[in-house]
Every structure is written in C-alpha cells, then in structure tokens.
Symmetry: C2
Subunit: 365 residues, 2 copies
C-alpha cells in the first residue's frame, strides 16, 4: 500500500494540518498560509473564516515543515561557558524571555571552557541550523567562528577579537567598573591589591585581567605578580587561589576577582582560615549575580547587566536576520559599575588600636 493519508483509521485522531483548516474554512491552503502569516492582502471575510477554523481545530503550523521550506529554523543558539555559574542562568533567563517573545526558541550549549565541548556545541548549532548564535562564553576558538561565517549564520559574541566584523561583537567596558573598584579600594587606603583571573586561555579572562592591571597603573599602584593568580571562574578555583595567596610570605590587603563565584570561593577559604572579610581582606567580585547580595558578608562587586547583554545580543542577531528594520546597530559599549556592599573596608592593621569602625565592619555587628 502506498503511503497515503490513512483512509478510515479509527484509532488515530484525524491529523490537524493546513489542509484540514482549509477545507473547514472552505478556502485553499494558500489562503490559510497567507492568513496565519499575516499577509495583508487576504480578504477579511476569508481570513475570519480561517481564524475560526484554526481555533476550532486548535491548529498550529508544523514547525518542521515551515523550517524546511523557509530555510529558517527560528532557533537561536546560546553558547555559555558554564551553566552552573549563576551568572549564565540569569543571562539565559533574559535571553529566553526576549527570544520567546519574538517567536524564537533557544538552543543552549555549555562549553565548560573545553575546546572539545565547544566544538560539539558549534556542531550542534550548525546541525540544527540555528538562525543566529550568541556566544556568551568568555573566549572561543577562532576556527569555530569561521564555521558560522562559512554557513552564513550571524553570530555575536563578547569582546573584541582582532579581525572580526564589528557588528558581531558586543563590547563590554570592563575597565569602567574595575576602575571604580580599584579607586574605591585606593580611597580606603589599600595599596596592595591582588587579582584572581579566570582561565587565561580565554581571551575575555585576559581582558579583565588587563583592565585590572591598567587600572592599577592609572591609580598609581604597582602590581605584584605573586598576587596575580589564575582561577577558573568557579568556586573551587577561588578557594584554591586564596589558599595560594595565604601561603605567600606577604599578603595583599585587598583582592579583586574576575567573577563573583571566584570571590565566593575566596570568602570560603578565608572563613576556613579563620580570617575575616573585610577586616583582614577586602574583596571585590565581578558580575553582580543575585547571590552577591546574600553572601556573608554581602559582596562588593562590579555589576554587568545581563539584561542589557541579552537584549543587545538578540537585537544584534535579529537585526541582521531581516536587515529591513533596525538600521544602525548601537556601537556603544556595555557599561559596568561598582556596587559597594560589605566586603570592602579599611586595610587590616589600619587603626588597629581604635574601636571597630562602622564603615569597616558588617553593619549591626
């Protein structure tokens, strides 16, 4: 028997497709297609018959068929470094919200900073034919980007890379927030500031570190290479980094971290070492994840708005998908700024003979 629409199958409910709608509305399938795609030239009478049939049958178009014929999957890739780092879920949440509102679904890939996994992610995106991809992992191999270029898939990613079209990078002004952080520490009297970076194989981890170094210099402070430790942007990396610092003969009085998770790792290591924040060490994080407000004590950190990041990324992608509307892409950088909470205070041993000062200790304590 040929493969044809089952003639009188009692078990299966009748398949609801565009033909069903067409016949119920007594129009052609083309008219149904036009109606549901909001082509303006459809006769209102026919259109209303179509809509009626649509809702009566509870019809919705088959995504696969649409994708096949149109060549558009209405899928947006979102590649992140590590989904278990709370910054990314916050980003994903914003991203999902915007994408869904615009009729897209998102395909998430988590690279875990591994080149191998990154390749798999890129491959998955390619195979599913995403219409665009936002690479929010901090650092990506160039050859993967080339694959997207070759397939003509718009991508957008964080941070300037040499030789990439400007419309594909979301520049973040790391320096602004980090500078505020360094200034804040300097004003409090800190002269010895350490920095825990992310994995330095990643370009963006390097950017943040470079920003820190440059800010130190602008502030007239010297960097001590011993206090520049490579972390992994995760809790354990932060803990380990702090332990390394504690093993050093001389300690900094303040430490800036490349992200909040690292800072939380440091807080933990200091707790274990029976050292106090900010009395013994001042700490500054980066990202301002929700949790930062809830650490003990609450974390002073540099905020990078993930809503802004998500909005800009999607706008960028979508504007390149249908170049009709949004003509010019705003080329302004995404700003960062310091949020002062309670992990920063005077350097230890300052005023050690005075009673505790409110500014330097957790409130109410």
């Amino acid at each position: 028997m040929k493969r044809t629409r089952k003639p009188n199958d009692v078990t299966t409910p009748p398949k609801i497709d565009i033909r069903g709608v067409a016949s119920l509305a007594r129009v052609s399938i083309a008219t149904v297609s036009r109606t549901i795609n909001h082509v303006p030239t459809v006769d209102p009478v026919l259109a209303s018959r179509v809509w009626k049939a649509v809702s009566e049958l509870n019809y919705f178009p088959n995504t696969q068929a649409r994708a096949l014929v149109s060549g558009k999957s209405r899928l947006l890739g979102l590649v992140v470094s590590e989904i278990t780092n709370p910054f990314f879920p916050e980003l994903i949440q914003e991203f999902e919200q915007i994408a869904v509102a615009r009729g897209y679904e998102i395909l998430i890939g988590s690279t875990n900073y591994e080149t191998k996994t990154m390749e798999v992610c890129a491959r998955r995106m390619l195979e599913r034919q995403v219409d665009g991809v936002a690479i929010m992992t901090f650092g990506i191999e160039d050859f993967l980007l080339d694959r997207f270029t070759a397939d003509n898939i718009p991508y957008v990613f964080i941070d300037p890379a040499p030789s990439r079209p400007l419309n594909s990078v979301l520049a973040v002004d790391y320096r602004a927030g980090i500078y505020e952080g360094v200034q804040h520490l300097a004003v409090l009297g800190h002269r010895n500031i350490g920095f825990i970076s992310g994995p330095l194989t990643r370009r963006s981890a390097q950017s943040r570190k470079a920003a820190f170094l440059s800010c130190l210099q602008s502030t007239g402070l010297k960097a001590n290479p011993e206090w520049l430790i490579e972390g992994n942007h995760a809790l354990d990396g932060g803990r380990d980094a702090m332990q390394k610092i504690l093993a050093l003969p001389t300690w900094p009085t303040a430490i800036i971290c490349s992200n909040d998770m690292t800072a939380i790792g440091l807080q933990h290591a200091l707790f274990e070492a029976n050292l106090r924040v900010p009395d013994d060490f001042s700490l500054i994080g980066f990202d301002d994840i929700h949790l930062a407000e809830y650490t003990i004590p609450p974390l002073t950190t540099v905020r990078m708005s993930c809503r802004e990041l998500a909005t800009r990324a999607i706008d960028n992608l979508l504007s390149r998908l249908k170049p009709l509307d949004n003509p010019a892409e705003s080329a302004t950088k995404i700003t960062t700024r310091l949020i002062v909470r309670q992990t920063t205070g005077l350097p230890r041993n300052t005023l050690q003979d005075l009673p505790q000062m409110p500014a330097t200790t957790p409130r109410k304590r």
Copy 2:
C-alpha cells in the same frame, strides 16, 4: 521563473544535500539515506563510497527535513521551575550531557512558578513537537499534562500525582533525607524545629512539608504552626521567612528549609540580625547544590542527586520512545540523604557556661 536549483550561480556555494552526496558516490539518494542511517543491508562497497563522499563534502543531514518526514524532532523538552535557582542548572547540565550523547537536543522552559508561564512553556513544547518532555518543575497544572497525553507525547515528572500513569512519575523519597535531618537535630538536642516551605500552591512543596511534619511526629516532636512558614524557594523568600520568625515571641532552635536557596536566605537574615549559625540557630537545607559547600558556614543539607534525576528522566522518556529495548522501568524511588556540614550544632543556651566546643563551632575558629 520557477523555483529550481540555481543553474549557474557563482556567488552561492553549491548546497550540500543528499543528492550531492549521492552523485559524488555514484549511488541513489536512497542508498545514501540507508547508509547514514546504518541500515545493515547496504553493500559495503557502496557504503564506503558514500562515507567517503560524506566526509569529502562535509555533509550532514538536514534536521528539519528529517524531522518532517519522520515525525520525530529529536528534541526533548525540559521544564524547570526557575532557571536562576542553582539546583536547576545543575540538573540541566546533566540532562544536556545525556541528551546530546543520545542525539537529542533539549528545549528548556522556565516557569517561574507562574501558571501563565507554564502554559506558554507547554505550548512551546507542543509547537516544536518535542519527542518527550521532562517536567522538573515542582508542581504543574493537570490540564497541561493532559495536553501532552492528547498529543501522545511521553512526559515524566517529579512526584506522585493522583491518576497519572506510573511510568510518568519519578518518585523521590523526600522522607528519607528529611528524617535523617530531623534525627540529626534531635540527637543534638533540638526540640523546637521550624520549617520553611516552598510555594505551597506547588504540590511538591507540599510533599516536602508533609514529609517534614511526618518525620517530626515519628521522632516524637511537636510542630509549632508559627514556625511553619511559606517561602518561595528563592533567596528573598528565605530572608523574609527568617525575619518573620525573628519577629515571633518564641523562636525555634533549628530550622529546616525546603531548598538550599531558602537556607542561604535565612543565613543572610541571621547575619543581618547579628545572630550566628549554628550557635544561635541550626539550619538544614535541601538539594545540596554545589554552593552549599561554600556558604559561611558551609550548609548542612539533604542531598538529592540531580544526576540520578536526570538519568532516570531521560531513560524513562527514551524507553517509551522506542519500547524495544529497556523493557522494565525501575520503579524504585530516588533517595535523599543528609550531608552534615557546619550549620548544625547544639541548641543555643546549651552548655552556655562551657568553653566553645569543637562540635558546635566552625572548625579552626
């Protein structure tokens, strides 16, 4: 002009499709299809020609077309409560890993505990024709489940609901871990234990609360309704709940939370109130997210393995997709167990005249 393969288009690279592979391998497209689908009856000689052509052209099959003709999207839905609650990213990570290894992609939906958003998620899953959906949100409306049933989409979700097929529920033994927690507190001398639940509109939040109540009773302890507070499974809900308790005339000496985020919220509220954990209050969380090891002090909590949850969910779904293999589904419950860290100790005012005891205070302090 009819829509046909562009005859001599210099700009566009030639589309690589099954026909291209077929002609390069000098076989029919049917043979290509069979080869890449590992149909065993293909002549090895032809097969090797096909594979050669495939790798030469860097060909991979068009997912949309495959999905259209086969009716299988190779997409698995994953609905979670709140992606910003770190438990879920950990779950998602496991889920993604397994799904990708088996050739599936996952479509994530975050409901934020809102019925409206939940509906949107269900709709998205339906529209994208997921082959199956894991509903890991704690609590879902019944009518949404019915939609999946109607469309013949296998789903699996957490917790027993009345009148749902057994193969669709992943039963979690909340009681085991919570009982351990209550026992642990009782042994330390706690008699007055509070409980901060999740949003009680959600069935699973109710299960956990019920488990707590039943464990209290088995232990011979009485519940004080004033100490049963409804939270929201998030940081702020935990903080608010603790503040409510602190406003009460009498306080419990220990509090169990429905999840770790809530417990972290409590820790924060206690910090703000200048109260200490575990000296003033013992705290127990639930989930054992990575972060639990890093809170200050590290959180005693009930572990629920999200790897196990993810594995079981996917296995369940996949086994129902092709009922050939995995015949019997293991109906055993997913277990939970207590991980003792440093937020539990003797009740306050016990031994108050003695010097600090190691068991009751953070180590090294």
